[in-house]
Amino acid sequence: MTDITQSLQDVFREVFDDEEIVITDDMTSENIEEWDSMMHINLIFACEQKFGLKFALAEIASLRNVGELKAIITSKSTT
């Protein structure tokens, strides 16, 4: 597991208050019942804090799955 994946998994576990969550690239809001709009924002906030970056509106609104979230974090971390 890469550093980003591990850190992102920590974020998911903290935000959803569930130590059992194991993230995968194809995981979506359909896989976590509590993943509604408010939790989506909390997830974004937590990622912004953890990785020291800011998401654009279009990125926040249209994230399809964990893989896309990881890709955005990776690209922003390397620029």
């Binding site: 019942e33 509604d36 709009s37 609104a61 249209s62």
Partner: protein, 318 residues
């Protein structure tokens, strides 16, 4: 267990009757995958009969203004969710009763907020937020049906985008409407909304006005009033309600909405529960004719968001 729905099939089945709404809903599902998706699925699944005609009406109004409803919706929703997430952590709203001037400078008098997304975003939440959809239905079912005088005159205080004024003026061809709002950006947006959507200029008069001050209207002079989403924005809501009660004639009705435990870019009066609202209405000489209480948990039983929206139709007690 909620029933499964086939969204592309639903959109196709509505495209002939509701072309503007179908195209926008299709765009919504293509562009915004997570944010508001569950709410939209709820509306299509549980509110379809009401959703489609209302969506066609409001999205056509927005189209006539040259709007971009999805962009405005997402920006407004994100701004709202950021504030609500902060409230859920701290228990505090963004502003308090001493900081109205800050809210005015940062929101109502700020074109980057008002013109960029606030007014249009709030307008289209009546379509895309199920809680506002239900609020709109209450307005139609309980307030519009209470206006019985053919040649009525009424007023909206804090009209914002102007949708409620449009609905009243459209439904009642012999009514005349006054409108007051503290924001010059609301004034120009609502003026345009009415004119671009077929309301004759001689049927309404919009002006800048501040509901924190006594209203410059005679007692008993209004047949109807709208005071929607204003109470939580001002430092003296009871005094404003008392003024509205004074201006209504004894048979008049006022439509009032507010939000409980719900922060936003510009909220400063924090209602903790429904009783605080109804007590305020009663102490402001208003009698509740009908009301609706809409907890966010009605739409998502798992949510931890404590928001409750509520709406009332009241008459003055004289």
């Amino acid at each position: 267990m909620s029933k499964e729905i086939n969204i592309p099939e639903i959109i196709e089945s509505k495209r002939d009757q509701y072309p503007v709404a179908a195209a926008t809903v299709e765009r919504f599902f293509n562009e915004s995958i997570v944010l508001l998706r569950k709410q939209m699925e709820f509306s299509l699944r549980e509110r379809g009969d009401y959703f489609w005609p209302l969506a066609e009406k409001i999205l056509t109004i927005d189209q006539n203004l040259g709007g971009d409803p999805i962009k405005a919706l997402l920006e407004y929703t994100l701004a709202f969710l950021r504030e609500q997430a902060s409230f859920m952590k701290t228990g505090n709203y963004r502003y308090d009763t001493d900081s109205f001037n800050d809210a005015f400078a940062e929101v109502y008098d700020n074109p980057d907020v008002m013109e960029n997304f606030y007014l249009e975003g709030l307008l289209v939440t009546h379509v895309f937020w199920p809680i506002h959809l239900d609020m709109h239905r209450f307005f139609e079912d309980h307030f519009l049906s209470a206006i019985t005088t053919e040649k009525s005159i009424g007023a909206e205080f804090g009209f914002g985008h102007g949708l409620y004024l449009y609905e009243i003026l459209k439904k009642f061809p012999d009514t005349y409407a006054l409108g007051f709002d503290i924001s010059k950006y609301s004034l120009s947006y609502a003026q345009r909304l009415l004119e671009k959507n077929g309301i004759a200029k001689d049927r309404f008069s919009l002006d800048l006005g501040d509901v924190r001050q006594p209203l410059a209207l005679e007692s008993n002079s209004l047949d109807w009033c709208v005071f929607a989403e204003v109470l939580e924005h001002i430092p003296n809501p009871k005094e404003a309600l008392t003024e509205i009660s004074r201006c209504l004639n004894p048979n008049g009705h006022v439509f009032i909405t507010t939000a409980i435990n719900s922060n936003a870019l510009d909220h400063l009066w924090h209602f903790n529960n429904m009783d605080e609202v109804t007590d305020m209405l009663s102490s402001a000489n208003l009698q509740i004719v009908s009301s609706v209480e809409l907890p966010l948990s009605n739409y998502d039983s798992k949510t931890k968001d404590p928001t409750i929206d509520c709406a009332f139709v009241c008459t003055p007690t004289k």
